[in-house]
Symmetry: C2
Subunit: 413 residues, 2 copies
């Protein structure tokens, strides 16, 4: 008998019919003798509806009240799913975040979990209940309702799995697993049966929106086996686990990630004095603009060029700030380009395999793609290319690193 924590997101429980399908599914697991804790999101569309109501009333809604408001979305789902389980003869009980209790800090709308009381949960599991817990929410020391921020239900599920020492944390979504790259770009993209936490983090941050980054970090930290599965299709999904679990034959590269939402800014002819990087990036950071790739070229005539990328929506604001900076530090020129994209090869295997970078550059050169910027980490190499070459680059790399599906021999271990 296992203890499984399952999380169903907004589209998995988008309407009454879906809630009933999930109830059937959970009843099946229960019939197999497993103990089940279900974490649910709000029905799809509900959170947005509530947020819109708030914005009708107040331009910048009070964060404390925003949490009171949107946390009702998950509460509704817990009650309905519990009823649906009960209707199928399954003993079940709903919990709000406050009731569990999931203790958080007081950072309304983006709170962090501090501690979870598992006493009541263990008692009710022992009494044979399926526990249906509202995701995404908790309560601070004072009993104020808090929320973990969008997608926080994944984090709730992982945190509960960690505290309850669950055998597995299953995240049910609208995809059947984690792929070597986006199947809409590469036909032969292949579902991975396993991927490491680190790889998953690199894939997620690159726009594979399967799992919330915080949840993956959390799972990695507490070593919670995490599985991504499709809510309504059968299949083993993808297990996200520690590196040690991997087989010797694991390919060097787990997948090709990419991100279109990139823009780059260049400031040229910056006098090369100590602290100049801070002078440029400090004001950008203060404006809460996240910077991704940063490249500084070698000094030349006592001036340097600085290039960095931001998300496209931030480009106008970043450019405005950079123009001011350029005046202050007497730089020669500011230029920008929002027709770029980032492509990355990700894999823990590259730690012990030399030549991944050169293989990557070779593959891109063969199809005539010019690399604009390069950045590397222990398990990832990213390049910035012109956006029009994005699909071509992804396909070339997917093929070059041997990720294309071989229709008949994928093992499921």
């Amino acid at each position: 008998m296992s203890l499984i924590v399952q999380k169903y997101g907004g589209t998995s429980i988008g309407d009454i019919e879906r809630i009933e399908q999930v109830a059937e599914k959970v009843a099946g697991f229960r019939a197999n003798g497993d103990d089940i804790v279900v974490v649910v999101s709000a029905m799809s569309g509900e959170t947005n509806r509530l947020i819109e109501l708030a914005h009708e009333v107040q331009k910048r809604p009070l964060p404390r009240e925003m949490d009171v408001l949107v946390s009702t979305g998950e509460q509704v789902t817990t009650a309905l799913l519990t009823m649906a389980l009960n209707e199928r003869g399954v003993k079940a009980k709903s919990y709000t975040g406050s009731q569990v209790r999931i203790h958080t800090d007081s950072a309304h709308t983006k709170a962090r979990i501090r501690e979870i009381d598992d006493e009541r949960l263990h008692r009710d599991l022992k009494a044979g209940f399926v526990l249906v817990v509202a995701g995404f929410q908790g309560a601070d020391e004072e009993g104020n309702i808090t929320t973990l921020g969008r997608g926080g239900s994944d984090t709730t599920a992982v945190a509960l799995a960690a505290v309850l020492k669950a055998d597995e944390c299953q995240i049910y979504t609208d995809v059947d697993g984690v792929y070597t790259t986006d199947p809409r770009v590469v036909d032969s993209a292949r579902r991975l049966s396993k991927v490491t936490f680190e790889e998953m983090l690199e894939m997620a941050s690159m726009g594979s929106k399967v799992l919330q980054i915080r949840a993956v970090e959390f799972a990695g930290k507490y070593n919670v086996p995490l599985r991504v599965l499709h809510s309504f299709k059968e299949g083993p999904g993808t297990l996200i686990t520690t590196e040690d679990d991997r087989k010797m034959e694991t390919p060097t590269i787990a997948g090709i990630a990419f991100n279109r939402d990139e823009a780059k800014l260049t400031i040229e002819g910056v006098p090369d004095t100590p602290g100049v990087a801070y002078q440029i990036l400090g004001p950008i950071g203060n404006a809460n603009i996240e910077v991704d790739v940063i490249v500084q070229n070698i000094s030349h005539d006592n001036t340097v060029d600085f290039t960095f990328t931001v998300s496209r929506t931030e480009l106008p604001r970043a450019e405005e700030i950079l123009n001011e900076v350029a005046r202050d530090i007497k730089a020669a020129k500011v230029s920008s380009n929002n027709k770029i994209a980032k492509v990355s090869v990700v894999g823990v295997g590259m730690r012990s395999h030399a030549g991944v970078a050169s293989q990557m550059f070779e593959a891109l050169a063969e199809v005539g793609i010019n690399i604009l910027m390069i950045t590397t980490s222990e398990i990832k190499i990213s390049v910035i290319v012109e956006e029009k070459f994005l699909e071509l680059a992804v396909r070339a790399l997917h093929s070059s690193f041997g990720l294309d599906a071989e229709p008949s021999n994928e093992s499921e271990d």
Copy 2:
């Protein structure tokens, strides 16, 4: 500086525009220097929407989960109203029933309030906050969410006013006060500036649906001055208070109440033995059917006739039960009539004034109305008449007891 508890019902906060109107109103009171606690219901239609969702999932929804579900309705309103107040520069804070905390028993969907912790409320009032409390809900000893049943928000408001020793509990509704009778029946019906708790109870139970009976009982028990006002029209409303507050000149009769939802059942030729009343009404009570007026005529040939009234929707079920009883106790006959109505004169004044009954019967006789049944209490006399005479009876009594409005000299004391 006064402490006022105000309750706004579903139609008063039916949409965002109304919530903003209520916020304006509360902001006005705050500007006058009063401390304000606002109790809110769910936005109109929301509770029904949630109940329908539950019934889609489960034929008889789990009561515990029903409370988890519907309590979100009030929670949403508290957050939105708090935001709207904040937008107008008024410091405000929302509370769920669990957060206050409003301790109740565990009778889900119809819980009773046991105790209210007022410490946190006093602290926040002292800190200058307007408190916005979710009506209709609480939490039991285990922290399970409970609801007080439909209309329970009035009860929440009165209970908070009692605990906080508020100067007044104001119930904002879609009528501008309590009337001598239904203005749709009698044009000259007059708003009462004051009415006693006892009179209000008799009026409420007769179908003047201004206030929940439980709330009036509660207010009477704890001597909370209760005022019924219109949400969006100016005016002093009606103050519901103890008898001692009334002037000497108070008219004998406060109002004429009536109820169309009546049906009567007669069982004839019942052998007159001890315990026969119980044999007849026991099975009716066991079936959870409420009996109102009961009349037993004088024994005659060792048999008696029994007549009682029930609400019309219960008639078929009551009749079925009574037919069984008739067979068991060998009664002669069962008959029924659902074309009847009840008319009552209500007033604490009748305690010290003889002749109210005879004046009532005379007034009805003058317009040729036959009385089918009579029942009396200390402050109420009710008669059952044929339904077709209802309006005529109400108008005749309203006029006979001097309740008709005199357009120019109503004092507002």
